[in-house]
Amino acid sequence: MRVNAFPVIRYAVLILAAVLVAIPFVTTLLGGFKSLGELRVNPLGLPQVWELKNYASILGGPRLWQYLINSLVIAGLTVALTLVVSSMAAFAFAQIKFFGSGWLLNYLLLGLLFPVATGILPLFIKLRDLGLLDTYWGVVLPQVAFGLGFAILLMRQAFLALPGELWESAQVDGCSYLRFFLQVTLPLSLPILSTVGVITLINSWNNYLLPLVVINSDANYPWPLGIMQYRGEYGTEWSLILAFVTLTIVPAVLLYVFAQKYIIAGLTGGAVKG
């Protein structure tokens, strides 16, 4: 390797790439501070006059908060339920020997193969018959069901890596499966639980198609639906829309900053070794 020139070239390439990738974000953030008139002549640069009213009116109104709370509730329920259901299943697959284990595992992993969209119409009819349309659960339960394959796959791997001696000594103490699961398996698996939790959280937070079909009333909209409604309402008032978009991006960026280890582990761990 040409050691001397390399760092310089590397920085040059990276900075160029970073600028190109970041332009859309910066424009969006700054666009929210511009008046419509200025946006038109100066979409790229710093605002000549910093308009605070776009951000202020959105932050001061109830809508953004309502949407974010809905998203948070849906994501929270999805994460909790995914962790409970898939860790139980993964525990059984990893640590209990039983007839049909392999067959059942493959059955559940089928979910990895196709997207929600394929069965969305019958799913919609099913949710209607269950009376779950326009409820949080109508989004949560299908999200959990479709996320199970991925979650079980990752967790089973992690649980398999736990040493056998643990159970041997637990048995001496007369420990039941349930106690062992709760007191040994889960506490030792916090990293994988966090990873699955964070990935599930992001997927739920960003989900659009399922709530689009399931949720009807404005009061229950998660933010991706809310932002589309907002866009429909304020059609051409781009500075307001850009401010709204910026404010909805903030949680995602914060999540990345605080949980990047788990995000990356989830995407690569599940991927590279899966």
């Binding site: 038109r40 309502q66 326009d134």
Partner: protein, 421 residues
């Protein structure tokens, strides 16, 4: 978001904190509307508040959905047990589908003669399927050309020449020669360009041929009169009169384009008058430069056609809607409220003597035009099922872009219609 809705949010939050018994005393009526104009929404809210004052046990809840989003979600919305009680309808084929699907409440028993005659009885016809009434007509609209007087003067166009299609075509040429974009169009949604085709078809075929086609009689949409309407649209499109990027423009974009004075004409319904101001960059629109002319006569079509084009809209009811919901719409459609809506909310009702009650002279003219019309044709696309409606919009767009000839378009429309029957 208005302070009223903020108040409502606060109210619903505090209601949730109170005991369940306090909340159950209220009968909730959910009402979904697609009205974007803040003045109209304010009148809606006032009417709801007025009703609530008379009936303290009823809580009317307004919910707004954007027009396109509303159309896309309505089918799925009506599958839910929590579907809205009262919602917006254009009548026509979609209404018939909804009736067939059994998702609407038949309100025939509630609509007595007094109610029927307080609005125009014929307008109730738009919400009658197989002799049963499903909705209450509360609004009628008129499509025509808005134009920018200043830009017309700049291009040297005599407004008197706009009574004929050839005059309009000449005006387009003059505007283009003067470097002015002749027309604004929100092409992404499809229905705005279908206004051109529909109005042309009214001028070339008239409502009798449309009804014949819808009844499966004769050549249907392959009739030369429909081919001619497509051909006239193709001729106009060949001049490329619309703003650059119209294909991806929303209706709102086209209002802004016209309201900013960047295009000389806009073929739209009367509702667009307020929107061209609110959507413009200044928020003021064209002011005194805003003009209006009726859709021109087509010299090669029906001689001196007296038919007009626009929608009849109303409120329809979900199958589980309560009597309170119907009663509320009855209150809503009282003469007093409909006049208030027209004067303060820009929605003209199909009501006898409407024109006399209007304060604004332009609105008065619109109401008089509709009243004097030989036949007020409902929007073509809504006459069909949702499926054929969307197909029609695609077909019209393909004529505008030159991908289909007039003959091919008429053939495709007839095929689509036959397919669904």
């Amino acid at each position: 978001m208005s302070s009223l809705s903020k108040f409502r949010l606060a109210l619903s939050l505090s209601a949730a904190l109170l005991t369940a018994s306090a909340a159950s005393a209220q009968e909730v009526v959910n009402w979904v509307h697609i009205e974007q104009n803040p003045d109209t929404v304010r009148v809606f809210e006032e009417i709801a508040a007025g009703y609530e004052a008379l009936h303290p046990d009823v809580d009317i809840k307004l919910q707004y959905l954007e027009n396109e989003a509303y159309k896309a979600r309505l089918p799925t919305m009506l599958q839910s047990n929590d579907a809205p009680d009262i919602f917006y309808s254009w009548g026509g084929g979609v209404l018939a589908e909804q009736v067939k699907g059994g998702v609407l409440r038949d309100i025939s028993a509630s609509v007595d003669d007094a109610w029927k005659t307080s609005i125009a009885p014929s307008a109730f016809g738009a919400f009658t399927v197989d002799g049963k009434i499903y909705g209450v007509p509360v609004r009628t609209s008129l499509v025509g050309f808005f134009y920018n007087k200043k830009l017309f003067a700049q291009a040297g166009i005599d407004e008197a020449s706009l009574g004929t299609w050839s005059g309009l075509m000449a005006a387009v040429d003059k505007l283009e020669a003067a470097g002015i974009t002749p027309m604004a169009l929100g092409g992404q949604e499809g229905w705005p360009q279908h206004f051109y085709f529909s109005y042309l078809a009214i001028r070339t075929a008239g409502h009798e041929k449309l009804n014949a086609a819808l009844a499966g009689e004769g050549e249907g949409f392959r009739d030369p009169a429909f081919v001619q309407a497509f051909q006239l649209l193709a001729d106009l499109s060949a001049k490329n009169p619309w703003q650059e990027g119209w294909q991806a423009a929303t209706t709102g974009d086209s209002y802004a384009k016209f309201g900013n004075g960047e295009a000389a004409m806009l073929l739209q319904g009367d509702w667009a008058r307020a929107s061209t101001a609110t959507e413009s960059a200044s928020g003021q629109g064209l002011g005194d430069d805003l003009g209006w002319f009726a859709f021109p006569q087509v010299e090669t079509g029906i001689v001196d056609s007296k038919e007009t084009f626009g929608g009849v809209n109303g409120w329809i009811f979900f199958k589980d809607a309560s009597d309170a919901a119907v009663d509320f719409v009855r209150y809503y459609s009282s003469r007093e409220n409909l006049i208030k809506l027209a004067n303060e909310g820009y929605q003209i009702a199909p009501m006898p003597g409407m024109a006399d009650e209007l304060k604004d002279t332009w609105q008065k003219m619109v109401a008089q035009t509709i009243e004097a019309s030989a036949f007020h044709q409902n929007f073509y696309n809504v006459m069909f099922s949702e499926e054929v409606n969307r197909e029609l919009l695609d077909i019209v767009t393909s004529v505008v872009t030159g991908d289909r000839t007039a003959e091919e378009a008429a053939d495709a429309l007839q095929t689509a219609w036959e397919f669904s029957h």
